[in-house]
């Protein structure tokens, strides 16, 4: 009897270990490309300006449950409020810190994403926020750095709040970073956007919940019975 309890305890511990992976082992990755814009313009970012990013996903972890062969996935960032641009006079690097903001990933069989020009427009954000919500999060932090050459990068830490790929709400469980490239770098950019972005979202805790009854669970660890 004690052995049975021990085995059951071990099995549950193993199950928990699988369901609560470490950041490196259990991480789910989304790779995206798209374009960003800020009200008032990014280079002259002023306090209160809003930064948004509309992207299409090029790689996505199977745990998000979307097949990019038959559907598209989109990632949309919005509501980031600029605290103003600060330029280092020695390096020339401009750093912009933002507050607020959300990030969401959608799966959509209609494959209709269209950046158009001068967002927001008739297709942005609508064609980037339709479909099934796979993940949503709120930013804990977000900052963007820009070189005078037009090259830059951003990074942000998120709390997971919802979506079908998120097993449970979580704090600081998602991280995104991207390169940002303005027109002087030679990047292709539709009119009205400030930068092209190419980045990654990494999510810890993207473990879909699977409902099984107690008998089925026990059967996993007693396959001979």
């Amino acid at each position: 009897m004690k052995l049975v309890k021990f085995m059951a305890g071990t099995a549950l511990a193993l199950l928990l270990a699988v369901a609560a992976p470490g950041f490196a082992a259990g991480i789910a990755v989304v790779d995206y490309v798209g374009f960003g814009w800020e009200t008032g313009g990014l280079a002259a970012s002023a306090p209160g300006d809003q930064f948004s990013v509309a992207t299409v996903v090029t790689q996505i972890d199977p745990r998000f449950g979307v097949n990019l062969g038959s559907s598209e996935a989109t990632l949309y960032i919005t509501g980031l409020t600029s605290q103003g641009a600060v330029t280092d006079p020695f390096s020339g690097v401009t750093t912009i810190t933002y507050t607020g903001g959300t990030l969401a990933v959608y799966g959509d069989p209609s494959r209709n994403h269209d950046w158009g020009t001068y967002p927001a427009n008739g297709t942005v954000p609508s064609t980037f926020t339709d479909g099934t919500l796979l993940f949503s999060g709120t930013f804990q932090s977000f900052s963007l750095s820009l070189l005078p050459s037009g090259a830059g990068a951003y990074e942000g830490l998120l709390n997971g709040t919802g979506g079908s790929a998120l097993a449970y709400p979580c704090s600081g469980c998602a991280y995104t970073f991207a390169g940002t490239f303005a027109a002087p770098t030679g990047a292709q950019i539709p009119a009205g956007y400030d930068v092209q972005v190419d980045g990654t979202l990494e999510l810890e805790g993207a473990v879909p919940v699977q409902n099984v009854n107690w008998g089925s669970l026990k059967q996993l660890y007693n396959p001979g019975r």
């Binding site: 090029t58 990068a153 970073f177 390169g179 292709q188």
Partner: protein, 204 residues
Amino acid sequence: MKKMKITLLLLAQLALATSAFAVQMFDFDAQATMPAGVGGAAAAYGRIVNGQAVATPIPLDFANYEYTIVVTGLTLNTLGTNSFFSGGTVAIYQDAATPSDWASPATFSDGTAVLTGTLATFQRTMFTSTLGTGTGFVDWTGGTQLGQLAVADRTGWPFLTSVSRAASQVQAGYAERWDGKVEPEQEVVATEQMSWSELKAGYR
């Protein structure tokens, strides 16, 4: 009257050509090695990850092949927050036999080289200890698919990447993750052959 019609048709065609923005790129996810010091060479090994989401500048068959990108011989000239490199080569490979694996860099450079070229200069700037950006320009000079690009379209392709040195982003044996792209500055369009009379007939 005829001249006015032709002008209007040309203007209408230009409007159509610019109304839908078609981004083209080789979008890659790579791991890079860095030299111990000035004079050594950096290298990067990555997968082309466009899939069906983003158009490539030349047709690629992602359903049947894996495409990889390899940068080699990128000599470090200056090391610092801004690091400058030169003399690199770039190649894009098509391969159906061996899945790429960062534990074995040779798996990125097997198969058929569809495009090869030079990355003459490359600048990497770190904004923090772990986050930065890299920029350079590629000139395509060879490969089995070079003919897909008109001569005028083969040079000056921006090589743009984010750089992460965070432990969670870097594979064993590498120093940095590069998530970036190589892209033409303008959309590459296929050449359509037609006679002068056919061209004129298109406007009558």
